[in-house]
Symmetry: C2
Subunit: 378 residues, 2 copies
Amino acid sequence: MVSGERFLVEYLITGDEAAAYAKVQDICVEQTVEFPPELIRDTWIKEDVVGKIENFEYVSNNLFKAVISYAVETTAYELTQLLNVIYGNISLKPGILVNRLDLSLGLLSAFHGPRFGREGLRKLLQAEGRPLLFTAIKPMGLSAAELGRLAYKFACGGIDIIKDDHGLTNQPFAEFTERIKYAAAAVNKANLETGGKSIYVANITGPSDEVIERARLAKRLGAKGLMVAPALIGFDTMRLLAEDNSIALPIFSHPAFLGSFTASETNGISHYVLYGQITRLAGADATIYPNFGGRFSFSKQICESITAATAVPMGKIKPIFPSPGGGITLPLIPELLEVYGEDVIFLMGGGLVKRGPDIEDNCRYFRQLIEGSKAYSA
Amino acid sequence: MVSGERFLVEYLITGDEAAAYAKVQDICVEQTVEFPPELIRDTWIKEDVVGKIENFEYVSNNLFKAVISYAVETTAYELTQLLNVIYGNISLKPGILVNRLDLSLGLLSAFHGPRFGREGLRKLLQAEGRPLLFTAIKPMGLSAAELGRLAYKFACGGIDIIKDDHGLTNQPFAEFTERIKYAAAAVNKANLETGGKSIYVANITGPSDEVIERARLAKRLGAKGLMVAPALIGFDTMRLLAEDNSIALPIFSHPAFLGSFTASETNGISHYVLYGQITRLAGADATIYPNFGGRFSFSKQICESITAATAVPMGKIKPIFPSPGGGITLPLIPELLEVYGEDVIFLMGGGLVKRGPDIEDNCRYFRQLIEGSKAYSA
């Protein structure tokens, strides 16, 4: 009735030992059969469909670590149902946090993951052996032409990847088609003039029935990458975008609306799993997240854990780029180079404007900081 | 450049007065222009696109309430971008909770909301003046034929709405098409025999590129309603399902994977907004959530706040049914009738099996408890 292949989920459980163990037993049932086990008549359902406790250990006072295995068949090989088995109903119960995933090879082979990954994206940008530079056109309210002029300056200054601010969708100030046209043309013009290889990444987060259409339109209009916020459109729609051969553009995952999953120490999903393992499984080539020391709340240790997850072995699923952003400024770059090494995409928005009124010059300075330093190759 | 129409979001902010006020000022910027305001040259962007603080007041020690207004144009009249303006980036910052929405009529008119609502669903079920009865076929592992036999018993026993367990998608044990065929036929057969009006609700939560297809297939095969988990497929896909005239079935919203938004007292989205206002705006006809006193963590007060939100005036958006579930058992019904009144859908799963081996008889007893009592009409 089942193949015997199982995948593992490591949970952190809050409570005293007896309560924590009872919680783990409950997870095995809640995430699968959701039915009183004593009333299940089929032995194989009780033994194979219900989750199994593979490990249970003490971590610290009132904190336990448990590993549960699930039959791969429970997921129907769907990302939505996989997420449901991992953390569907128990997201509603206190004291349970998803800490690590260890997906079996058969299950992993059902997913394509990122189309480009680190290697593919570097090839596209012709940028080897150094961190990549990333910025956003904004603020909301500017016209498509004004946003295009900004994109042009960024590209002339040597920024590799120029994206829409994540709040730009289809506002009347700069409608989707107009914005993409201007921004893509501007980056293209700059490349022709400078010999650069910058790409424009369109934000296509939007209505469910328009996302794929916007992706195709953006590509036709010259965008060379796509950004989506998976918490808004669904992780599985990101997967679909990554797998669609008629689109075939790199995908940048934005963390908007995702914050509550990591807001509590006793509930939710670890940064490692959410920004690393799940985002990667769902096909992103780069995972954007708030950097430490900026205006958000992630610690340096958390950022390092995300970076580790972007490259941890996951069958044939490629490693992707960590892309810290949010409050990154030019003076921080030397320290960040030491932390992240060369396999990183630095997303700098306001920081590129604050240095002085000449944006192009600020970008060149950013590029020099990156290229001049060998901190990351140490 | 903007119409002047603005909508309001009430946030609860944790911190001392100065820190809380600074946080509110930051929200105005972060959720709109995401750009240093002092560097914005266009006055109208600074004045109209940036959020405005409409109110700021002390609630209790280290807790403040703030109302921010946003220009409706910032949302592009898209549900995804509306959620992004309300809580996109700031979900990543500590100490901010979305407490209430007050959406303007122009913005509300961009959304259809539920197709049926309370009134439409009652008409469909021909069930007036009493709570509705709701159950699920399970456990995962049963064959389509076995699930069908269960559905038949529930319908014969007088359960109004019989749904798939939320973990049943397209597992090999009972593939989607087979399951829908058996369950829909079983409920139909029972109706013909008893004169009942029970409906079968298919769980169509699944891959992004299959959800609409599954909805249409389920309808063709005889399902009379659909269930989705918006946290897994995206709230906007639920909206799309509700608006699609070729589908035109009532939508039941399931809370799987949604728990982290309400897990913290200082971060997230209130139950009122999440299970009430947003779920309703996104087109659900009933909002399923964990009942108090069951195996989940919602309090009675929280459940009452969700119920209030299902019927609070929202322009032309219809009132919907609160549908408490999760650990509801027959002995609890008298108390629940007093709390919820008649406008409620009681979702009972395991509770219907625990009373004794004759499921049909258990259902009839449930129905009698509901019809016999006048507690709710008091």
